[in-house]
């Protein structure tokens, strides 16, 4: 029978059917971080058991960590206690940990791929919703809650119901200045923040085929923002090339064997999805969000909708109140005070390169504070090796140390109440970047352009 990519991988991981809707599914790789793991470790202690498969677990500290002076003890006592608890737990239970200061430390969804741990055909989980990022490699990757972290610790399995499948096809070439981030913000604006609920998404079509792995990760990363459990893209030559030679990637004969298997991972021609959507790349322009969920996005050339034409007028009014914006308004020209280039959506080396290339020789606007927070220690090192740090310094951008940072404001990196921040992260929820902070989601290019002008601009005008 014809199968989707999702079905092929899922079926290969079913240990047992519990009933007609529930299955025991085997998990190949488990990533953990300091925020959602301590209670799961305590659970193991209470049950007096250890990890079932320690060597399939990888830990890093990312959500809470400061992004300046990482060599000093963490100032915030609560953050410190969480990061310390992770170190102690990993030591006690024998889990490989890339703690603060380690050369491989970074945001969990950035380090998995860059270390070659994330590979096609796997099942991957982490107590973090943006685990969907890993799906860019053609695997089933999704976020779980802390009870499930404990389940995977205890048995390397989860009890799951198979989600429905959705395929999103985008064909054609993107306009200059339009990036993967714009594509996914466009899709979410069409489907709404709940449009993918209950589904696992496969992205297909020539637009994704011609993307780099970094761009595909940006796409899959935000699958969760339309409510989907995860997103995936079938592996191809681009995928295989990216993996080759990475620290934990299969080597030699094992690599060849792996490629033979990975090459079978695609959706069969006549496989059927529960839902299909398709879009044209040419219709997509630079995207910005104006509201308080990632589905509230428009192209830079478009006006914020009027309440009367909006699906949910109450939600729109409430969001615009919070954002200090008006219905019908253009975002172009809107002044901003902060620029955050970072997060597991857009803090890989390619993102930093594209920003550096754009700002080389330019200066940030005086009133704007610009933070560049690399996704990992390796990204930071690579950026320095390539001299990007100098480009940023000359432009007045501050290159900080790796972590989640202002993506969720769990450390000191917060946006003050009432200020506008154009951000390359993935969530514009109320208070996400700090109480009262007003977040406008955009691509790294749009963020860089806003940094230079001190206000929202159409980045395309620089590129033609």
């Amino acid at each position: 029978m014809a199968k989707t990519l999702f079905d092929k991988i899922w079926d290969a991981h079913v240990v047992k059917d519990i009933d007609s809707t529930r299955q025991v599914v085997y998990i190949d790789r488990h990533f953990i971080h300091e925020v959602t793991s301590p209670q799961a470790f305590s659970g193991l202690r209470n049950r007096n058991i250890g990890l079932f498969r320690t060597n399939q677990t990888t830990a890093t500290a990312d959500h809470n960590v400061p992004t300046l002076n990482q060599h000093l003890p963490i100032k915030d006592p609560l953050s410190r206690s969480q990061v310390d608890a992770l170190s102690q737990n990993c030591k006690e239970f024998g889990v490989e940990l890339y703690q603060l200061g380690h050369e491989l430390q970074g945001i969990v969804h950035v380090i998995g791929p860059e270390l070659g741990i994330t590979r096609p055909g796997m099942t991957i989980v982490c107590g973090d919703s943006h685990t969907s990022t890993h799906g860019a490699f053609g695997n089933i990757a999704f976020g779980i809650g802390t009870s499930q972290v404990e389940q995977v610790f205890a048995s390397q399995c989860l009890i799951l119901s198979k989600p429905k499948t959705m395929r999103i096809t985008v064909n054609g070439d993107l306009q200059k200045g339009v990036t993967a981030k714009d594509v996914i913000l466009y899709i979410i604006s069409k489907l709404t923040a709940a449009g993918g609920t209950g589904y696992f998404v496969e992205y297909a079509g020539s637009t994704f085929d011609s993307m780099s792995m970094e761009e595909r990760m940006t796409i899959c990363n935000m699958s969760i923002e339309m409510g989907a459990r995860g997103g995936m893209i079938a592996p191809d030559e681009t995928t295989f090339k990216y993996i080759k030679g990475r620290k934990f990637a299969p080597k030699g004969e094992q690599y060849d064997q792996a490629i033979r298997y990975w090459s079978t991972l695609y959706t069969d021609a006549d496989a059927v999805f529960d839902v299909e959507h398709s879009y044209e790349a040419a219709d997509i322009g630079p995207m910005l969000t104006y509201g308080t969920n990632p589905g509230m996005g428009i192209q830079v050339s478009e006006h914020i909708p009027n309440a009367s034409e909006y699906l949910d007028p109450k939600q729109l009014t409430k969001s615009l109140d919070y954002m200090g914006l008006q219905e019908g308004q253009l975002l172009e020209g809107q002044e901003i005070q902060h620029v955050f280039i970072g997060s597991c959506t857009n803090a890989r080396i390619e993102d930093l390169r594209s920003v550096a290339k754009f700002v080389d020789g330019k200066q940030k606007a005086d009133h704007v504070q610009v933070w560049i927070v690399p996704g990992s220690k390796q990204v930071e090192q690579q950026a320095k090796k390539e001299g990007l740090d100098k480009v940023f310094a000359n432009a007045g951008f501050q290159l900080r140390e790796p972590g989640c940072s202002a993506c969720l404001g769990m450390n000191e990196d917060k946006v003050p109440a009432g200020d506008y921040c154009i951000s390359t992260s993935n969530r514009n929820f109320e208070g996400r970047q700090g109480p009262g902070a007003r977040t406008i989601l955009a691509s790294p290019l749009s963020a860089a352009a806003a940094a230079i002008e001190g206000k929202i601009v159409d980045v395309r005008k620089y590129l033609n």
């Binding site: 009933d19 659970g43 107590g127 973090d128 919703s129 009870s147 409510g227 109440a417 208070g431």
Partner: protein, 197 residues
């Protein structure tokens, strides 16, 4: 986990759609390393202003409302996978959340913590909101065994779905880990017949 028993209670109305997990429990409260104490910060930024004073208009600060049932608008619990959202609601003393739609991860997290999400139709949700509006002390009865929710004032009965496995778990007070730990041999056999590439 505590076994889930039949009970009657008043309900707390929250007629807002797309309540996300950052509203349920803002990220800055996720720094704890135990499961206790999250209830105090449930809906923190709606409940308290920046000076930590109660916001009088918010429902949890309104003494007229209370109870073990939270009734909320569509797409409740969207956003991050943080289980802290379920701990915060549970920690506040709520046992049941009613909405016309739940985000996937939240629903799973709730069930894993003995918190019952009940999905009703839009019309039923409106009816429940109306019942609370008309009488803040309106009583509702939850009977998980019978999968039935009753508006006591007028006797309206609403049936709800829950799959058998989860129902059993809630009623008996056990969790997925108990089940999986029993399955060790099968899991090892599964591992032995495949390779991870």
């Amino acid at each position: 986990m505590e076994a889930f028993t039949r009970f009657k209670s008043t309900a707390i109305p929250l007629p807002i759609e797309n309540v996300d997990t950052d509203q349920i429990i803002p990220a800055r409260f996720l720094k704890a390393i135990t499961k206790e104490g999250f209830g105090d910060n449930l809906f923190r930024d709606w409940r308290y202003n920046r000076n930590n004073n109660e916001v009088p208009g918010f429902v949890l600060n309104n003494p007229k409302y209370g109870g073990k049932i939270l009734v909320a608008g569509k797409n409740f619990g969207c956003g991050s996978s943080r289980e802290h959202a379920a701990w915060a609601i549970d920690g506040y003393g709520i046992k049941v959340v009613i909405s016309s739609f739940f985000a996937d991860i939240f629903k799973g997290n709730a069930l894993n913590n003995g918190l019952l999400p009940i999905q009703v139709s839009e019309d039923q949700l409106d009816m429940i909101f109306k019942a609370i509006e008309e009488d803040h002390q309106a009583q509702f009865e939850i009977d998980l065994e019978a999968q039935q929710f009753t508006i006591c004032d007028n006797g309206t009965q609403i049936k709800f779905d829950i799959d058998n496995y989860k129902k059993e778990c809630l009623l008996k007070g056990y969790d997925d880990i108990d089940y999986l730990l029993d399955l060790k041999e099968e899991i090892v056999a599964f591992e032995n017949q495949r390779t991870i590439h």
